[in-house]
């Protein structure tokens, strides 16, 4: 007979039906049009992206929609060197918090087209989208961010978001 059994695969799977809600549905439809939509709090004026429909500070609905820029600032980042099951991006790669121009909160994005030893806080980046025909209401529409070539942002301009 063949070798003794030493390992066992134990799959764990949970199937959800995800409902995006009103605010995120608006956001994802914006993504399908190739743009980032945020929502502004009528009380504190902060712009949230992706919007959740209310301001976490003031607890009021964020009804005012804002079209954000395609560029932003890397506030913090992490270089991923560890392989894991299901990884779809070749390592090493950079995962960064990106503060889009016009937004008051950073979100997570993949950074490409820059050597991992050149990434830095304050780097200006721009979103790279899939071809227009492939755009859809999914974050897969944003391929990654890459350096925009603009001068780095001064630390003071984003220190509030760290």
């Amino acid at each position: 007979m063949s070798e003794p059994v030493t390992m066992l695969e134990t799959p764990i799977r949970i199937d959800y039906e995800f409902t995006a809600g009103l605010a995120q549905s608006r956001y994802l439809k914006g993504i399908a049009e190739g743009r980032f939509l945020g929502q502004r709090c009528p009380k504190c004026g902060k712009v949230y992206v992706p919007p959740r429909g209310s301001c976490p500070t003031d607890g009021v609905p964020t009804t005012d929609e804002v079209v954000l820029g395609n560029t932003g600032i890397v506030t913090t980042y992490c270089v991923v060197n560890v392989p894991f099951q299901g990884q779809s991006i070749e390592i090493p790669y950079i995962c960064a918090q990106i503060l889009l121009d016009g937004a008051n909160i950073a979100f997570m994005g993949l950074i490409q087209e820059v050597p991992t030893d050149e990434i830095r806080m304050g780097m200006r980046v721009e979103a790279v989208w899939v071809d227009k025909k492939d755009l859809g209401p999914t974050m897969a529409s944003v391929k990654y961010f890459r350096p925009s070539g603009e001068p780095d942002a001064a630390y003071e301009t984003y220190e509030e978001y760290l």
Binding site: T6, P11, D15, F18, P137
Partner: protein, 152 residues
């Protein structure tokens, strides 16, 4: 924005663990692959199935592994009227503790039965194996149990 404009999508979270099974469960799984059910003997003379690495009562190491079954009795059972995806059978079945011949404990498995009226505590069942080529060293190498004498 109307409610109908809210987006929905399936969202599946799946993570497969690959775990090392150790010498005792490894031997049990190897036995299943070879079409045998093994139990562990304890110092008190009991046979534990599936085998553990230690005596569940005294915590001492278990002794040699012995073959049990492949038939035994259903000690308790519960009817699963609506099987979930990935459960052992795709039609209604019974979860059951099966105390295999030669064993002193019940092993959780499923019984393929026509309905709850075909189930009873104390009924004798026997293992229905996957074909040898399909066995991989997994508890599901036993496809299910069926009433003894039934066409398996």
């Amino acid at each position: 924005m109307a409610e109908s404009e809210v987006l929905r999508a399936p969202h599946t979270i799946e993570y497969t663990y690959t775990r090392s099974v150790g010498p005792v469960i490894g031997a049990f799984l190897t036995g299943l692959r070879d079409g045998k059910i093994l139990g562990a003997t304890t110092g008190g003379g009991r046979v534990v199935v599936p085998p553990t690495e230690y005596d569940p009562i005294t915590s001492e190491d278990v002794g040699e592994l012995v073959e049990v079954g492949p038939s035994g009795i259903v000690t308790t059972w519960a009817w699963a009227a609506r099987p979930l995806p990935d459960q052992p059978l795709d039609r209604p079945f019974a979860w059951a503790l099966v105390q295999l011949d030669g064993a002193d404990t019940g092993m959780l498995h499923v019984v393929d039965a026509a309905g709850p009226e075909a189930m009873a505590s104390g009924m004798r069942v026997t293992a229905r194996w996957r074909s040898a080529g399909d066995r991989i060293g997994h508890l599901r190498d036993i496809e299910c149990f069926v009433a003894e004498g039934a066409r398996g």
